[in-house]
Amino acid sequence: MAPPPDHRRPIKRAAISDQQRRREVALRLQADRRSDAQNRARQLASSVLSLGPEPATEPEVEPEQEMSEASGQLAGRSDFDPVRAARLRGPEVRKWFARQLMLPEWMVDVPPSLDRDWYVFPRPSGKRCFVVSSNGTTISRLRNGSILHRFPSNLPNGARAKDVSGPASSYSILDCIFHEPDETYYVIDMVCWRGYSLYDCTAEFRFFWLNSKLSETGASDPPSQYHRYRFNVVQIYECNLAGLQASYSGQVPYVKDGLLFFNKHAHYQAGNTPLALVWKDNVCSQYVLDTDSKGQIPSQQQVVLELQNDGNLTTSDDPPVALGSLSRDLIAQSGLRVGNLVRVAIKDERMRLVDGKLDLGELQLVGKTNHSRAFADTYSKVLFQHAARHAPLRIEDLVASIQSNSSMDNSQALDVEMEG
């Protein structure tokens, strides 16, 4: 009997041997693991946010003492050390998160080239939070780092379901505002996506990525068993007249709380930044003037400041700006400790410049703030609130600035020429 021709396998003979299969399986596993290792490398070090697993039980509210320590450590805020961040556990995660949100300054003056370099959108009213999806669960954390919700979602690795791609440990981080009335997370920025960091990307790119990626996941679908909350993208406009108009008076499905302005070229930067600005008036926000702890608008402007060693009261800016001080006696009397956040009322409503410093004059201690508060007011907020009570920056000023920008393009060039 002659053997079959070389290329013809008799049908009764197995197509491949198990040995061949073992070899192929080994090769495939090697290739998979190589690609896993590469992905890990790509995600790990390039990202500033590598977090270890958290303990399941975590106290939702920390003692105040610890909170103030956390804010006392703000000095390390920009020190994005991925290796260190990866080692964080439990409460440290919370503290760490409390420092990661990009916080807009309040717009006390109109920045130049508003129409060319900025985006604008109506800010949803609600709780600002970071939403992290990873390892089959989604966690939202408030500004102070405490957990708002822990839930399944359609975000990548946001629910315990077979994900199509990527390791389950890769995380995505969204900057959101949770809007209570329709129980929806409005996504205002994207910080990490499928493990890849967008920190060092411009706002222009982040918004592009946010818009194209979020819709792919089904995160904007209505809630279901494995998708507890809906995630919606906020409509973002170029800050020209039409865009400003649409943001200011256009209809949105949520309650507006002022307008947010983002510089297109700015990276995502933790903490206060002048490259993101918030502005509001009575038309586009119900909360122009700050309320006190009872929810009432006080007759005098109140400010939340942090008590320092030397009795000075400072803003949460970096470096902090001292706006006044408390006497040792008063401090002892009220049982305040260094690092406490205190609410003070500005008695004399006229601000003064003394030796190049803003002086709020005599401050009246109203009391300590409640525990969930993590930060003092910023310098720009104090100014904005002051202006809102006396000489607010109006929508007309914004419009005028945009109009003058376009007409001033020529004069700018001329101006530079003459300088040279």
Binding site: R8, K12, D18, Q19, R22, S165, W209, V321
Partner: protein, 981 residues
Amino acid sequence: MALEVTQVLLYAQSIDAATRNHAEESLKQIQEQNLPAFLLSLSAELANNNKPIESRKLAGLILKNALDAKELHRKNDLAQRWLSLDLATKTQIKTSLLQTFSSPVSDARSTAAQVIAKVAGIELPHNQWPELIGSLLSNIHQVETHVKQATLETLGYVCEEVDPQVVDQEQVNRILTAVVQGMNATETSSDVRLAATRALYNALGFAQANFTNDMERDYIMRVVCEATQSSDVKIRQAAFECLVAISSTYYEKLAPYMQDIFNITSKAVREDEEPVALQAIEFWSSICDEEIDILDDYRSEYTGDSDVPCFYFIKQALPALVPMLLETLLKQEEDQDQDEGAWNIAMAGGTCLGLVARTVGDEIVPLVMPFIEENISKPDWRGREAATYAFGSILDGPSPGKLAPIVNVALNFMLAALSRDPNNHVKDTTAWTLGRIFEFLHGAAVETSVITQENCQQILTVLLQSMKDVPNVAEKACGALYFLAQGYEDEGSVSPLTPFFQDIFQMLLFVTHREDATESNLRTSAYEALNEVVRCSNDETAPIVMQLIPVIMLELHQTVEAQKLTSDERDKQNDLQGLLCGCLQVIIQKMGSIEGSKYAFMQYADQIMDLLLKVFASRNATVHEEAMLAIGALAYTAGPNFAKYMPQFYQYLEMGLQNFEEYQICAITVGVVGDLCRALEDKILPYCDGIMTQLLKNLSSNQLHRSVKPPIFSCFGDIALAIGENFEKYLVYAMPMLQSAAELSAHAVSQDDEMLEYTNQLRNGILEAYSGILQGFKSSPKTQALVPYAAHVLQFIDTMYGGREMDDAVMKSALGVLGDLADTLGSHVGPLISQSSSSKDLIEECMVYDDPLIRESAEWAKLAINRAVSAFASIPCCVWSGLGSHHQPYQVLTSPSLNDPTNKQQGHLNANIVSAYASCWLSLINIRNKWSGSVISKWSLLIALRHLKVLLFWVVPCFFALFHIGSTGIVVVSLLFVYFV
């Protein structure tokens, strides 16, 4: 001058070993001392009609081996050696060879024909010996048939050796004319006709142009078809072989001839001698191969296109073809199931029927069912076997929906037949058919499996019982169990096999110990089934698999200890060792992947490692390979703990890497180095000098099989990823290797699919190396060391992208490297990347690709590049906002991205930079406000513009000047600058 070699050549064929060895030794010496003279005397010996045929044949054989070898590198060496001989010698040798044609001794002529073809294979591509074909063709008109026969034979061999491109069409036409004339029925000598038919088989590849010409094609086809009717069986067989070759080479030209070919083949299948009938069946199998490929193309490509259209020959011939094939199934031979290499009409017919089923799908079922029903209960075993064989053959192709109802009815019948049929052939085929049912109609991929919780137990009982049957039946039962288990691989914890694990293992171990386990491949099949059952174990059954470990280890221990074996026993021992190592590999992989069993498993790790190291004492390649694979699996499971085995294991690792001869071992070992890298990470560092040295040696060797080279490059990436910046010292060796390989592979023109596939493997390996190296260096202060290579890497990807021959894997890796370049080198390569064509177009193209993995890689690349480009554009912004709001300007300023003076030249290229300076300026305002503590002034446009100009003219040069002064200076001057503003 010609030497006297006759005697030595005769001694070299002596029965006496000493004489033979001595003669071989002297032949070697002569060759080494004076190669030209040696070759001359061999050719003279071959041509000399007065010499004995034995010495002439051996002379020709040695001459042939001096011109060609199997291994590619040796083949090239020999060709070069021949080309460098002096012209006179070569001419004289060639003259002698051509003279041999007139020899009355056919063996001498045939040997000369083969040698001539080898010389032609070397010389024709170099435009040497242009007169060869002309002088051969002039022989055709000679009267002597033996010269004519030798000439045709030579033409055939020449066509086999040389590439069609090196022969011009005019010569091709003359060759084909001569060959086809030789085949013609008017040729009276059947020797000439046979030689011509065999020559045509080799010349078909040259006839591309002739087959597009209707008249010439008609003529060739007519002559071939006539030759299938020759009275000489050898000519008929050779003619059918031509038809088979035509069916695959010129499928799209066959339509006009199919009716005739069907008639010819069906007559041959039914009436002709076996060798001819087998070729006639092969014709239809070959047509099936073509149509399966085309229809696959139709399905896989979204355009629904294939280069060649499908003519549906099989579909059209179906009503006549299927009965013809079914008839062949009844022509079984008595002992075919015991002989592994057996091939006969029934086997070829069943194989072809299986291919037909894959080609036409559902349509075959109603044509085969009546045959099955008629024969399945026949008293004659041939009927029952043929019916079962037919059923088994058509299970792959038709839809499960069509087959399931039939299988549901047939299953019980099959199980009964396997337990009770009196005939072994029937039981053999029944067990095989059950295996096919499990393979194609059961498992996660099939919507409704024909196997249920209920019948599974019955099936298992019958299969396990059959494992006690004769070896060939037991072997098929093991195979059926393999596929039954495979269907449950993804089942998780609810596998119906769970309650039977213990029984299955016991029976399979019993089978491996059967005295006759070496017959019919039984032991191998039992271990393969065992492996598959292990693969589908789960949390619940893991403890039972764990009990298997000491048993397998004991068996392996016994083979290691066994002493003084005969060579036959040694072979069996090697087979067994290989199987046991393979089984351990599967167990390690599985137990390592089940979280709950990993810890318990690791308690065996020391003993397993100890045994595997002892196995390396064996000199058998398969055993080494299996042991190496098992160690790779163990390393992955053990992770960093594997470090403790490294001191003993290293020598075997090195041995494996040095094994050029058995290159599969080398390849597997290279893969294991990757496993080790991922397991040990930086703990592999102490061994890297040795490993890298060996890998670099392997790459530069032309003796190592080329297939090992791509994985070696990938392995560079694995090592770099594991040891990070410590890879720096290897850069100076590895990078030039990568660069030159990249250069070659980027410009490689791939003539055939195989070459294209290899080129892409090579590219993929190179890209994986780049990725690993780039990622390994990320966040290291030594990143600088990679900057000089960036341009070349980009150029490599651009060239490949321009060439448009990248496969998906290469595309994915290329995207990865683009991202890695940006990610690791950041602003250093921002502008460089912006200029590369692939970074824009390739990424955009791939962002909308169907394959999610490619899309993801494209996203990675886009993201990383965007970061790098924007980082470059906004360096000053970072610096100043760093100063403004944060605390470590010092650190920011000393970051490597700022220390590259080339930024200056590249700066103006990027439009983004202007807006970056604007952002920077915004930050400056902020800084000043904070530092002075004054009330924030207006965001005054005018002030902004004044300072913007200052910035552009002052700050930029300042920056770059400062980088050379040093970081301390920067801080000082920065402060000054802030004051100035």
